[in-house]
């Protein structure tokens, strides 16, 4: 019976699931409020009910009913119902260029996220931070997973990117007490914002050179401390630069990081990094990790490979930092300290090494968990580490490690299992 059910759902393509989810979030928007009232819930359960349930356990049944009525049932029913047309469309699209199909799927995904986060600003903020966490995690995975080094410099890179992008947009588009009047009309801001992010990314890539040049002369743990020293240096440097606010931080960045911008950059990051790791460079990076001498013998320029990968990862960390600064609209050096490092490392190793899927899973689950367990206050920081230890013990390389991310497999139409035909 169960198996039969699962078989039936095996022929539902991604597109159908997305349509189902879209309907669910629409449903939430329309009937969410009356339904919460009916179920005696205080508000629409914002993070799948975790906050409500942990705070007032007697609302568990109501919350579960809400989740089933709004999410589980509609998604399953609609996904199942539209599986045939969705398969047909997917097949048609699949025969064309892959990018059209991918963009349509992503558009659908964005629509879902947009409507979902429209319910509350808190949801939107959580979503943005989660998406940024994906970029950071993925870029660190490039170094710690694909390249097999242990780098501690990501907070430093993020800080460089955050300050780079902030200075860019504050100088050009905002009247601000540190840099005076805007040089360009503010209307251009959102369009030039990508340039600012790229600028921040380049600054951190240049910073990465400082780490890379001394540390890649040899293999070993030296990268770990050089990169750690780098994080301390960056923090201290920013604290001493009065024109960007010093320890007081830099605030009032213009509000350029809306959900669409963050989403597009996350997708770009996943796409580009995924292509990178499947390219010759990516394979060379893996080869260097597995056996540097052998890789060298196979004409891989190991030093150059490591440098390029490292700078590439730093670039993305910088972009993430820029987005972060514009979501928070305030940066200060103490944000990018040891705490941030522990957070990012946890996401990478929780999700899984050497895997794009893993990074996404790690970043999303830990970011959401960090918010969802808020009502536990202090004990949040006992439960999350315990969970991580358990994952590490039972899956030492992380939840989803060493798995390739293949967009074709994801969006292809699902064929009806043989025995059903």
């Amino acid at each position: 019976m169960m198996r039969n059910m699962l078989n039936r759902f095996a022929e539902v393509p991604l597109a159908a699931w997305l349509i189902g989810a879209l309907c669910a979030v629409y449903l939430e928007q329309w009937v969410g409020d009356p339904l919460t009232e009916l179920l005696l819930l205080p508000k629409i359960p914002v993070l799948f009910g975790c906050l409500i349930v942990l705070k007032t356990p007697k609302l568990i049944p109501s919350t579960v009913v809400f989740l089933i009525l709004i999410y589980a049932v509609p998604i399953c029913v609609i996904a199942y119902a539209v599986r045939k047309p969705a398969n047909m469309i997917a097949a048609k699209l699949f025969s064309g260029p892959i990018w059209i199909s991918a963009i349509l799927h992503l558009g659908l995904l964005y629509l879902i996220l947009h409507i979902w986060s429209d319910i509350s600003a808190y949801r939107e903020l959580t979503l943005k931070f989660t998406l940024i966490a994906i970029i950071v995690t993925l870029s660190l995975n490039l170094i710690n997973g694909y390249m097999g080094e242990f780098s501690c410099s990501h907070p430093g890179f993020m800080a460089l990117g955050a300050y780079g992008a902030s200075v860019f947009s504050l100088v050009l588009f905002a009247d601000d007490k540190n840099f005076g009047e805007a040089l360009l009309p503010g209307i251009l801001g959102p369009f030039m914002f990508p340039l600012g992010l790229i600028f921040g990314g380049f600054i951190s890539a240049i910073g990465a050179l400082v780490v890379a040049i001394p540390s890649f002369r040899t293999r070993g743990d030296y990268l770990a401390i050089i990169s750690l020293a780098f994080t301390f240096i960056v923090k201290s440097l920013i604290e001493n630069l009065e024109f960007i606010g010093g320890p007081r931080g830099l605030g009032s960045q213009p509000d350029f990081s809306n959900l669409l911008v963050v989403f597009i950059w996350t997708v770009l990051c996943v796409w580009i990094i995924n292509n990178y790791v499947q390219s010759v460079y990516g394979k060379a990076t893996n080869a260097v990790r597995d056996d540097e001498i052998a890789a060298d013998a196979m004409t891989v320029d190991t030093r150059k490979t490591k440098m390029v990968t490292f700078m590439f990862a730093a670039f993305w960390a910088g972009v993430a930092g820029g987005l972060f600064a514009h979501v928070l609209r305030f940066v200060n050096p103490s944000t990018f300290g040891i705490q941030k490092l522990a957070e990012v490392l946890a996401m990478v190793y929780f999700g899984g090494l050497n895997s794009v899927y893993g990074s996404i899973v790690g970043a999303v689950s830990l970011s959401l968990l960090g918010e969802a367990l808020r009502p536990l206050e202090l004990f949040k920081w006992i439960i999350i580490p315990l969970l991580l230890i358990l994952v590490m013990i039972y899956r030492p390389t992380g939840l989803i490690a060493f798995k390739e991310f293949n967009i074709r497999n994801l969006i292809q139409p699902k064929h009806i299992p043989e025995d059903e035909v």
Binding site: V31, P34, L35, T36, E37, L38, L39, L40, L41, P42, K43, V46, L51, L69, V73, V77, S120, A121, Y122, L125, T126, F129, K235, S236, E239, N240, G246, P247, R248, G249, G251, S252, F324, L328, R329, F330, V331, N332, P333, S334, T335, Q339, E371, R374, E377, L378, K380, W381
Partner: protein
Amino acid sequence: MRKGAVLILLAVAVCMVFTPSAWGKNDAIKIGINAPITGDNPKVGEGSKYAAEMWLEDIKAAGGISVGGKKYDVEVIIEDNEYKAESAVRANTKMITEDEVMVIVGPQSSSQAIPAGDVANNYETPMISPWSTNPDTTNDRPFVFRGCFLDPFQGPVIANFVSDQFGFTKAAVLYDVAADYPKGLAEEFKKAWEKKNGKGSVVAYESFTTKDADFSSQLTNIKRSGAEFFFAPQYYSEVALIVQQAKELGWDKPIVGSDAWASADLLKLCGKGCVGLYFSTHYAAKGAKGATKAFIDRYNSKYGYVPDDVGALTWDSLRIVQAAIESLPKLTGKIKKDRKAVRDAMASIREFDGITGKMTFTENGDPIKCAVIVKITEEGEFEFHQSVCP
């Protein structure tokens, strides 16, 4: 399958028609507390939390806050900001949009209060930061208030006090370069001192980094510079170490501090070394009278120690909020409107009689408040020395 779905929909529709709209609606007044329960400085969070608990106790005993003759139940929501800016922003957003709090009290430190104040102001929710001394927290933010005086006020107060009391002309400063509060105060003090005694009168301007425990190198520099005293605008736990190490390096001149010294734990951590030192603060615990004494005694008997200034300031902030809410003619039940009304009521409060002094908010949402200079006595109490009003 289809039948079931139709049935459910029907049931939902029927219920919707017959549900009184008041069901599940909770018309309690919600107050949010944004405090660092975990992170680098959990003591600050604890003080805020305890003050809030005591306040809630009072409210419950009175049967709620009465607005326009109607008693409203009160709910306090405490969110942990982990001493991180991003977490403070998330906590504020959550409390404003999810819990629909009427007022937010906190965050305490400027590095969290500045970004969190931005959120509160954008969502038009009144917020009062009891402890943040950086001018940026309230600047251009009509919905953001604070419960304490600012760095530009406290710096000159200390500089003037030292000049008048001791007649010194050469000062040194030791501060934490990575933290907002010491850095700001150190700068303001330096400015005020140099204005008074001429350029170069601050002979040593030394710093360290948060979480450092050894200040011997900086203290050696200060000693060598020939300063007649030094100013340490640090949190009391660091002060204990600074004072002890200064003594061990043969420093026998005065050390002057700021309001972050004000904790009963200072003497416990510092021992005899701190006796006889002066610092500026919000109120003098020794010889406190009336409400101040009642608060201190109650806190002490409940939690086993005399409250830090964070606790007292949080208490005052909550009381201001309460006074503002009580002064409203009625609550409309529409949270946005009520928030605005509370904000206006807070801005128009005059001469609020808090335990840390009388308060009136300026246009910027900063209180006009007096500072007191206290001396640490042999018994480890903070004795009133003088009061400085703006």
